[in-house]
Subunit: 156 residues, 3 copies
């Protein structure tokens, strides 16, 4: 894991998407000093939403994992914007706040959110090991299956 | 948007309510240095709760927008307390964490939460542009329609 | 309340459990300077989950209070790890983010989450008075009744 984040992304065959600016009165990220808050990201890919509905009902837990991973890819795309393309400036992923669209009684949110957690560690190594909360919800924007926001410490 | 926050509030005809202290073992706000965390605010007005129930079922999306705006008014009332009445000390609204009481499948949380986001920018201009998460939930305290908490950077 | 946190815990007859490390790619806590983020804690006791299901349906509100208190005990166990056993280094509990597993229309999340808030003040006195959000959810990991995460300011 001594590779750079960029090398890790390349090895995984992942090209970061162009981060989409929100179309409302909020912004993709803000900061207080080196602590950046990244807005809740949804599993969007090429402008489409491949993962919608309740995990465990409308999509499988495996697809929920992929949805969480896609949220994380969009989070890293925002980090890349903050970092002017130099992701080695990411000092520590502080927290992921994850919401899983699911039915009453579904209890495997941790397994679903691992899709995002695994990705962070694959990209950043130890700097990607974060604290997190993973909870269920009955409804998410545009009926997506997962939404994740992020606190991250980024060096100047 | 070169007006002071106080002038903007006046232009909108908004008088900030007296912030109500929680009646439990928590406080309306805490801070670590200049970073303030404001407790989840509900749409309370003159001690009453005008917006309760599920957005899209019990109240319209337009009323949901107003509920989110009312949460934001209560957040700014807390900021005003922190700032000793000088809201120009608000350096940056860092994050709004918004929960919308709604039914399964409702997907317009972003439009609802814009009620709070628009208000922050109307009051603070660019300093009011924040990151946010907006998710659904099946239940909120006292059955209110929206709850929003806030991280904000406030100068000494 | 001039006792040390350790004395307060002893008076309450509470022995902090050994914090369990997550079995996934995330960690129990991270920090940016003195600001620590503790991962969402569930009401686990001796490896078991005594409080599961919806508060107000499957378990009483009183048991929900106890579940929130147990989450807080697990949060303090993590703090104890951060502090190398000297909890007087806890400068301020900044925020509790609380999720209560409940049915549509349940509105007493504040009373439930008081189980955690009361505990923080019993242990830390004024340093334990925190900001918080308390919301409902239709589902939590392993079907537990409460999940709570925490931001806390801890001195070196």
């Amino acid at each position: 894991m001594s590779n750079s984040p960029e090398e890790n992304l390349k090895k995984m065959g992942i090209e970061l998407p162009t981060p989409v600016a929100p179309v409302a009165n909020y912004v993709p990220y803000t900061n207080a000093g080196s602590l950046y808050s990244i807005s809740g990201q949804i599993p969007m890919e090429d402008g489409a939403l491949p993962y919608t509905g309740k995990v465990g009902v409308d999509i499988s837990e495996e697809d929920g994992y992929k949805a969480a991973r896609l949220c994380a890819i969009n989070i890293v795309a925002q980090m890349n914007l903050i970092c002017d393309g130099d992701l080695s400036r990411v000092r520590k992923v502080i927290k992921l706040g994850a919401f899983v669209n699911c039915d009453n009684g579904f209890g495997n949110q941790p397994e679903v959110v691992n899709g995002a957690s695994d990705f962070m560690v694959e990209v950043f190594g130890d700097a990607g090991r974060h604290s997190r909360s993973a909870v269920g919800t009955n409804a998410l924007p545009r009926n997506v299956s997962v939404e994740i926001d992020c606190l991250v410490d980024i060096a100047d």
